[in-house]
Amino acid sequence: MGALLSFFVVIVLVLIALAGVQGAGLYVLFGTIIPYAAVATFILGVILRVIKWSRSPVPFHIPTTCGQEKSLPWIKYSKLESPSGTLGVIGRMALEVLLFRSLFRNLKPELRDDDGPRLVYSSNQWLWLGGLAFHWSMLIVILRHLRFFTQPVPFFVTIIDSLDGFLQIGAPHLLLTGVILLLAVTYLFLRRLFNPPVRYISLPSDYLPLFLIMGIATTGILMRYFFRVDIIHVKELTLGLATLNPEIPAGIGVIFYIHLFLISSLFAYFPFSKLMHMGGVFLSPTRNLANNSRIKRHVNPWNYPVKVHTYEEYEDEFREKMKDAGIPVEKE
């Protein structure tokens, strides 16, 4: 249900772009206004969301420790899984953000009933692999696209581009990350569809970004290898956007506008969606705090006095019993 709905939404988005550009000729709307609006929404939305989170304090020091704490000098502690200081935390976060450390731990328990119940654990890194492939190829694809938004094109973009196409298949070169991205996102979608528990927990908003990205990757690939839009004109348009001198060169195929509209949709949707895990992962208190709460006091800004049961009240109630039991008391 959720999947169909999201699929339908993306199809409608494609049709809107198709009708708007090819039907109504709204080039300026789809080529200039919507992209600008989407980028503005993205940047402002992300910043506002992060600010909203940051206005809630971290009242307690709650890292999830995944290894030995720093304690006695002769006990080897786990610098990355249970870091005791900032450096370790940076390492832990880097592993988390760049290599998906936690996801790598993934296990699959299986309850077998041969001669009594037996739980068997097997490592299960497909999600990690798929997720890593997806995110990294996404990043590289985005960086590659800087060649449309810069002039001269920075050297790192050129290098990425030539590495990405190192197989030198066809012309223009087949760029691997585009293919990996599409395969990975397809895997993530199929997993959501065919893994019963994952399907059970999935919301329409889990399928929507997958379909959007699938649409973006597909139109991109079609454009580069099959339908062939005039790349010079495309760059004139995109560079116009980047230099704040927007223009609409004639003769760019409609598929480019569909591509651009789907990207705009993704950008605009981003800050309001689960995609904000991009910013959120950095703020996660179970990961970004050092395991040093007995070494350094963590201050809760809203810590307030509470009603307590004092020793005096306690002794007043139990004084006689305490005296009988030989326990020293304050007031005889």
């Binding site: 304090p57 839009v229 010079i232 560079l239 980047a242 950095f282």
Partner: protein
């Protein structure tokens, strides 16, 4: 504990990434590519027509060149039949570069604009008649 400082640094980094295309181009006047067709050979042509239409060549010349390479080097075919029926010799050196003898002002003009680095010149030697010492 708010860690406002760290969050602000993070947001600045995010902004730096997200707006890179805007500020990196700031104040730059970007010239549009303008491939020149003014070589002597082209100027002498009565019908200024490449092996295929201009529209085809703009979008698909790279495919054509790959097909030519495969035809000539792998299958030994040296003749190309265009969509209008004209037969032309398959040769980068003798066909393409005969007219477009100005690599720098023709090929490179667009290739540089979109940061494409075709590997034609890994094998082919470009002997410029113009002052061009790139290759």
């Amino acid at each position: 504990m708010y860690d406002a400082g760290k969050i602000i640094i993070g947001l600045i980094i995010f902004l730096a990434f997200a707006t890179f295309p805007f500020y990196s181009n700031m104040g730059k006047a970007v010239a549009k590519p303008d491939p020149k067709l003014n070589t002597p050979v082209i100027q002498q042509m009565k019908v200024k027509q490449c092996v295929e239409s201009k529209k085809f060549m703009r979008a698909k010349h790279m495919q054509l060149l790959i097909n030519w390479r495969n035809a000539a080097l792998r299958r030994g075919e040296r003749l190309y039949k265009g969509s209008d029926g004209r037969i032309t010799e398959i040769s980068l050196q003798n066909q393409c570069l005969r007219c477009h003898s100005n690599k720098r002002n023709f090929c490179d003009e667009c290739h540089n604009y979109v940061a494409v680095n075709p590997y034609c010149w890994d094998c082919h030697f470009y002997a410029p008649k113009e002052a061009n010492n790139e290759h």
